[in-house]
Amino acid sequence: VIDQLNLAMRNLLVAVLGAPPATVRPADQTAPAGGQVDEFITVKIMDCQGLGGARDVVSDGRGGFVEEIQQVKRFTASVNFFKTATADPAKRARRSNAAFDRAARLEQLLHLSASIETMQAMGLGLLDASAARNLAALVDANWESRGQIDLTFDVINREALPITTVVSAPVSITVQEGAVDATRNFEVTTP
């Protein structure tokens, strides 16, 4: 579930920000992040909580009966923006608040009608956005622009499991035909 939520968030950010897909990444990967001016975004699902009771639905699917539990989940995604695309003549990142700026603008961009349409198509509802935070730092004496924002969404999670049903059962019926009892044995089978 968490990986699916993370993927949905990344695809949402690609759509909303127009960012190249390879630059919107799950957080904490053991992978090279890129040079000083290679901008990228990371997503980490920080918490996930079920709200209210779960709804139990039994449906007759094509492959047999399926029990499905539906519950609203509220989750928080921490979105981190890293680096700036501008460098000085020595190819070191310039001091910049570019990443903080991108974090600060994200909530408004999510309120665009196109963004809402994208979220609806994904089944996501935006509940809240935290204050954007400026996490810029010096890394090895080089400037690294960083910004962060927490986004809280709700989503309906569905857990489905096939239910084992009777496939076939022997049936025995005894009927009285005049003075004689007649027994008929046969087998019924579910489709």
Binding site: L7, R10, N11, V14, P20, P21, A22, T23, V24, R25, P26, Q29, T30, A31, P32, A33, G34, G35, Q36
Partner: protein, 121 residues
């Protein structure tokens, strides 16, 4: 300046080890947006492998000094991670795994000298 690369190939001093170098790419597929997919190029190289000297261990942080650390000399290029675009090379010596943590290219002697630290895969 003496070209000592010949010594680095001498079977009396060297052993064959495996060099595993990571490449990879971030996914652009919507089914795995932004996920790093590593690929590894594996080559056999010839190298001199010795336990790291006390002087080399002093260059490590205190908590790292008691770990299994080796010194490696080879004419084959060895790479440490640069923290930006390159993951460190992995060396497999007698079935044990080591991550290259420091490299000194010695173009004058035509060889590379590296320090690598063991880890449990």
């Amino acid at each position: 300046v003496i070209d000592v690369s010949e010594v680095m190939r001498d079977p009396e001093f060297t052993s064959a080890i495996t060099l595993r170098r990571e490449a990879g790419a971030y996914s652009t597929d919507p089914a795995s947006t932004g996920e790093w997919t590593p690929s590894y190029a594996e080559t056999q190289i010839v190298a001199i492998v010795q336990p790291a000297s006390p002087e080399e261990l002093l260059l490590l942080e205190e908590g790292e000094r008691n770990k299994n650390t080796i010194s490696v000399w080879s004419v084959s290029e060895l790479r440490g991670g640069d923290g930006k675009r390159q993951q460190p090379d992995v060396l497999i010596v007698d079935g044990r795994y080591y991550r290259v943590i420091r490299v000194e290219p010695r173009p004058d002697g035509n060889y590379f000298r590296a320090v690598a630290q063991g880890y449990v895969p």
